[in-house]
């Protein structure tokens, strides 16, 4: 999460050749938080200010929540021998609160205490630095420590993390950042805004005519003219979780980054990719991640919560839920 490159205004190579709809202005595409950040606004005049606000949020999240930089606040907490309640920054406190809330709402399927499990399977550094290994490795299935072990006290803004518990905020921190940045940009600069952090998308303020057009893909870095349906959203958040990205090999086993908290191992292959629209990017991300973990139970779970969703199985079959539009190629069959 520590690779925050200098952004370039208006320099999105993916956008070459594809015209922007009226009223949409691309501000920047840059590397951040170990992935790609993209910023669009509806008011071109505030683009630079919007970028500054987004950069500030990204920097705050990076320095507080990154598991991959030893000087981050969350890593400092881990290194401390003193496991009594510790006062933390407002940003980290809120990020932890969001993560615990996600765990609560999903019955622990999206659990921030998967950090040690991540390290065991080899995801202990920024993903591009993970190499394949042919060395045999033994994994032991066991539940993660569990989110209820982490105690937050809002009145004192303290957190208490038991010894041995490693926090990983990767599931929610980017979405939290996107939500907060988009809201602040919309309010302070009176503009419609779209913030994408690795395909986790938050929009705020007045949407452009026709909404914000988003291609749904397995990988957020796929070309805009690639495969996958294109949908428009006008508010809230849209997130996609997929087990087809961030895969690597340990011994004879293929790993990916979505952990089943019940086993501490990568989630078994059932859904390849799940996209969810929700009132916030955090909500969308939480639901899409939980859906991947819960497998076949995901469809009724999403339906009950009226969460518009698109689920793609490993057999290629597409399921849509709660008003998500049917893929054009599917409807024509």
């Amino acid at each position: 999460m520590n690779d925050l490159a200098e952004p370039a205004l208006g320099g999105d190579p993916k956008r070459s050749g594809i015209p922007l709809a009226t009223g949409i202005h691309h501000v920047a595409t840059f590397h951040a938080l170990g992935t790609t950040a993209v910023l669009f606004v509806t008011e071109a005049a505030v683009g630079r200010q919007a970028l500054e606000l987004l950069e500030k949020w990204i920097a705050d999240i990076d320095v507080t929540c990154s598991r991959f930089r030893p000087d981050s606040e969350i890593m400092t907490l881990r290194d401390s021998r003193d496991r009594r309640p510790r006062k933390v920054s407002e940003v980290l406190f809120e990020a932890l609160a969001v993560a615990l809330r996600a765990a609560d709402l999903t019955g622990g399927l999206v659990d921030p205490t998967v950090g040690e499990a991540m390290e065991v399977i080899g995801y202990d550094r920024d993903f591009p630095l993970i190499g394949a290994s042919d060395s045999p490795v033994t994994f032991r299935a066991r539940p993660v420590p569990g989110w209820k072990a982490v105690k937050l006290d809002r009145s004192s803004r303290t957190v208490q993390i038991p010894p041995g518990v490693v926090i990983d905020l990767g599931a929610t921190a980017k979405a939290f950042c996107a939500d907060r940045a988009a809201s602040e940009i919309a309010v302070k600069l009176a503009t419609g805004v779209l913030v994408s952090l690795g395909g986790d998308i938050a929009v705020a303020g007045p949407a452009p005519r026709g909404g914000w057009s988003v291609r749904i893909a397995d990988d957020h870095s796929e070309p805009l003219d690639g495969a996958g349906p294109v949908v428009a959203i006008a508010g809230g958040g849209l997130a996609t979780s997929s087990t087809t990205v961030r895969r690597w090999r340990r011994g004879q086993t293929t790993m990916h980054h979505l952990i089943d908290p019940g086993t501490s191992l990568p989630v078994a292959d059932y859904w390849r990719t799940v996209s969810v629209a929700a009132a916030s990017c955090v909500g969308a991300n939480t639901a899409s991640t939980a859906a991947i973990v819960m497998g076949a139970r995901a469809v009724p779970w999403l339906e009950q919560r009226l969460l518009p969703s698109r689920l793609v199985g490993f057999d290629g079959a597409v399921s849509v839920v709660a008003g998500w539009p049917v893929d054009e190629d599917e409807s024509s069959r």
């Binding site: 005519r209 909404g211 957020h220 006008a234 508010g235």
Partner: protein, 201 residues
């Protein structure tokens, strides 16, 4: 989620011929503004509504403080063949404190008459209150749009959200298959090229 209330809501929608779409945004404190364009199935035109909401109440340790949120909003109606356009500032109707619970995911909202009191039935979260205030404006022609803005502060994760809704004049019966009021408008098929991809990262 309360399935019974959900069904009740759906029935009311069909009977009254109204359609609601909401959009939410999240912030810790401060101001929010949200806009949404609302396409109303079965109608000859579309309605739009926008709202700017402000809130300063977030004390989510045990729900939300009762010091209140405020909202201002406006509603506009696109030109219609017979009535022209209309718009008016919405009046502020103080909200009430109720005992609903909140969720990242949202649920649906039930209107308790015209008094301004609202009760939210949301999925997830037990015993979390919220404090809301909302405004509502009605287009004077009676055939235009209704816009409402609402702030809702609640939940242990310090969420303040703003919602806007649009209500348009009915010109034909809505489809019986129209979905009940969702908290989040479902994505629609895009009419313009994609600007970004949502995928795994």
């Amino acid at each position: 989620m309360n399935p019974t209330s959900q069904r009740d809501r759906a029935v009311r929608l069909l009977r009254s011929g109204t359609s609601w779409l909401t959009a939410g945004a999240v912030a810790g404190t401060g101001l929010l503004s949200v806009g949404v364009a609302v396409s109303l199935p079965g109608r000859s035109t579309s309605a739009s509504a926008s709202a700017t909401a402000s809130g300063s109440v977030l004390s989510p340790t045990s729900g939300v403080s009762s010091s209140g949120a405020s909202a201002t909003g406006s509603a506009t109606c696109p030109p219609m063949a017979s009535s022209g356009s209309s718009s008016l500032p919405a009046g502020l109707i103080p909200g009430s404190v109720s005992d609903g619970s909140s969720s990242f995911f949202g649920g649906h909202r039930r209107d308790d008459g015209e008094s301004g009191a609202r009760h939210d039935d949301f999925a997830g979260g037990e015993g979390q209150g919220f404090d809301s205030a909302f405004v509502r404006g009605v287009a004077p022609t009676g055939s235009g749009a209704t816009g409402s803005g609402a702030t809702r502060a609640g939940g242990s994760n310090d969420v303040l959200s703003a919602c806007v809704s649009g209500q348009g004049a009915q010109t034909s019966q809505p489809s019986a298959s129209q979905s009940p009021s969702p908290q989040v408008a479902a994505p629609q098929p895009a009419v313009s090229p994609p600007i970004v991809s949502s995928g795994g990262s």
